[in-house]
């Protein structure tokens, strides 16, 4: 096999909209379990894409189908527009960083890193391999560790060896299967920065599998949120945070209050909805939404604010009378849990700065929850995932 060498010149690689890999209605069935259910997704050349979801959501299956360890039971997997569904892993131009790194214990660090290069036929000259290995080790800042044994390396160092072993082959796509799971919190955030820097400098497409939403938000160009074998939503981190189409996504990415409501009117990208307590609010709607219908509205706790009962309201702001049940001071913000009349529990996060200026509120106090017009989002009608 040959792995087509990729130019490391990032500018020639990253072309917006250029698809490097694609799932085409790809399914994977294990006995009675449908691990991947008609996945359709285009991975763009040079992007950092994360599969995010809880365990058992199908994200690892998707990654393994891309690597070639599993073949789809239905649909196809394309890499560079070629169907590779039947191509074994060792013939695919992708490399993986495994969860526990899967480093070869009987080889030195340098031998591990050079392993992929030594597999190339026709054989790569030894000197060239050595040079590339040294360069890859330098990239992960392990240039002095080549002769070491694997078990002499710390967890973080092993992680970087695994990374070097994969990138030295200049794969078209670098697959990362929960690579940070075994690291402690501090090391993890360091590695996240390193990975991002590496991805920028190499220009290789990175596909990461993680269950850690913060990790996905921090690193990804785009995130593919999965649940129960299906893709729930694909988008940029901001997009997913600001415009989750479903309750599942809204819940998974950040915190969200979900309220039942009757959508009465749609005008452009804003709608009018009546909450259970009869108060009307003006949330955003997805294009093409129609009224009237029963709907769910998601609103982030930091979008809402609190005012003393009876205080005057700004123009266009709805007010929900509520009682504070818990107050938790969290430094940069304070988290209030409230019970809104006729609605139920809601969460409101008040920034420390706002609380300083406007004053805090005590538990058991009756307050108004302020809901500005144009905030909140009517979840998509078709979004039934989870």
């Amino acid at each position: 096999m040959t792995k087509e060498p990729l130019s490391t010149d990032a500018t020639t690689q990253v072309r917006a909209g250029d698809t490097i890999a694609e799932f085409v209605s790809t399914s994977k069935q294990y006995g009675a379990v449908l691990a991947a259910d008609r996945l359709s997704l285009r991975i763009r050349r040079g992007e950092f894409l994360s599969f995010l979801g809880p365990s058992g959501c199908g994200k690892t299956t998707a990654l393994r189908m891309l690597a070639g360890f599993e073949s789809p039971t239905d649909g196809g997997v394309l890499i560079d527009r070629k169907d590779v569904s039947k191509v074994p892993a060792y013939k695919r131009p992708v490399n993986m960083v495994f969860q526990q790194y899967a480093l070869f214990p009987h080889m030195t660090v340098a031998q591990n890193v050079g392993y992929g290069l030594r597999q190339q036929r026709p054989r790569m000259p030894k000197a060239e391999i050595a040079a590339k290995v040294q360069k890859a080790l330098a990239t992960v800042r392990l240039e002095a560790f080549g002769p070491r044994r694997i078990w002499e390396m710390s967890g973080g160092q092993q992680q970087r060896v695994a990374l070097a072993r994969a990138i030295v082959n200049e794969p078209k796509i670098l697959l990362l299967d929960e690579p940070m799971a075994a690291l402690d919190a501090k090391l993890r955030s360091e590695m996240q920065h390193e990975l991002l820097a590496l991805q920028r400098s190499l220009g290789i497409t990175f596909v990461l599998v993680t269950h850690d939403q913060e990790e996905a938000l921090a690193m990804s160009d785009r995130i593919c949120i999965m649940g129960k074998g299906r893709i729930a939503q694909v988008g940029t981190p901001q997009d997913l945070y600001d415009r989750p189409r479903s309750r599942y996504v809204a819940d998974f990415v950040g915190k969200a209050n979900i309220l039942e409501a009757q959508l009465t009117r749609v005008q452009g990208d804003t709608g009018t909805a009546t909450l259970a307590n009869g108060i009307a609010v003006h949330p955003q709607v997805f294009a093409g939404d129609t009224a009237p219908r029963k709907a769910e509205i998601a609103i982030r706790p930091e979008v809402l604010s609190l005012a003393a009962a009876g205080a005057p309201l700004p123009e266009g702001t709805a007010a929900l009378p509520a009682r504070i049940t818990h107050r938790t001071f969290l430094g940069d913000h304070t988290e209030y849990l409230l019970v809104a009349e006729g609605i139920g529990p809601l969460q409101v996060n008040v920034p420390r700065q706002a609380e300083r200026v406007l004053g805090g509120h005590d538990v058991e106090a009756m307050v108004q929850i302020l809901w500005p017009a144009g905030t909140g989002l009517v979840l998509a009608a078709e979004a039934t995932t989870a």
């Binding site: 070639g68 892993a89 993986m96 009987h106 597999q119 078990w151």
Partner: protein, 285 residues
């Protein structure tokens, strides 16, 4: 009274130490002393100091030659059969059949090797396999009482001892290493040579060592399936101690055997150091 860690350790090791001293070192010392003595006129041991017994070792050349060819050959043959079997059991078999198949490998051990070897006397004798071969025109094939029969017997007898260490090594092989190899461009057969085989070497070496050492001292199978014509060092020693009752010479032969074994073990530990890649794989034996 407080016991220090050091004292506690000494205390815990005392039974094992005494055991080894009494059952290993003491007999060895006796054998060593005997080997410099003489045969008493009516047999047994007579004290003395002579190198005569060692000088006589070449008279057992054939026994050493047979043992030193058939023991390694038997070890290699057992390995060649055991490895694919262990590989199949560890990596290919549906887990629900695994236990059953492993038990089947052990089942022959439930019967004495003596009885099992006798079964081979029938199978290899004139009315067994040779009679079957005669049906296909292969007349007058002699199997029993040949080196081949002995080789077959020892491979058969010691196979489980080879299968299990290899099985254990393969069983605990991290399967993701094979995925990693495939991911890095290695076709399956090559990843077997580069990953599976080297990482199962501790098992291979342990199994080979076990089988080889036992074969070096083997006497039962050669005497049963070799018809007394395929003579091992073990047979020489049995004869010297129990028939000609030349304990001094028998001890010299035993000392020579121990020396050969020590050299083998030394080579083994060298190899295990080379192949014992990760620390937890080294201590298999």
């Amino acid at each position: 009274m407080a016991i220090t860690r050091r004292q506690a350790r000494a205390l815990l090791l005392t039974p094992a130490g005494l055991w080894y001293a009494a059952l290993l070192l003491l007999p060895l010392a006796v054998v060593l002393i005997f080997s410099f003595g003489e045969r008493s006129p009516i047999g047994g041991y007579a004290p003395g100091f002579t190198l005569e017994q060692y000088a006589n070792l070449p008279s057992r050349f054939a026994a050493f030659r047979n043992t030193l060819t058939l023991a390694p050959l038997g070890t290699v043959a057992a390995l060649l059969i055991a490895y694919p079997l262990a590989y199949f059991l560890a990596l290919r078999v549906d887990p629900k059949w695994k236990t059953l198949l492993l038990v089947l490998v052990i089942v022959p051990f439930w019967t004495s090797i003596l009885i099992r070897s006798y079964a081979w006397i029938f199978l290899l004798g004139g009315k067994g396999i040779p009679a079957l071969l005669a049906q296909f025109g292969l007349e007058d094939i002699r199997l029993l009482n040949t080196p081949f029969a002995v080789l077959l017997g020892i491979v058969y007898g010691y196979l489980p001892l080879m299968v299990f260490p290899i099985y254990v090594a393969l069983e605990k092989l991290d399967k993701r290493l094979l995925e990693a190899a495939a991911d890095l461009g290695t076709p399956p057969w090559r990843s077997f040579l580069q990953i599976t085989l080297p990482l199962s070497m501790p098992g291979v070496l342990t199994g080979s060592m076990l089988v080889f050492i036992l074969l070096m001292g083997e006497f039962l199978i050669p005497s049963i399936l070799g018809g007394g014509k395929v003579f091992f060092i073990g047979n020489a020693m049995v004869d010297l101690f129990l028939q000609s009752r030349n304990w001094a010479f028998g001890s010299a032969v035993a000392v020579a055997l121990v020396v050969i074994m020590l050299i083998t073990v030394a080579i083994y530990s060298r190899l295990i150091k080379r192949f014992g890649a990760s620390r937890d794989d080294v201590g298999l034996m």
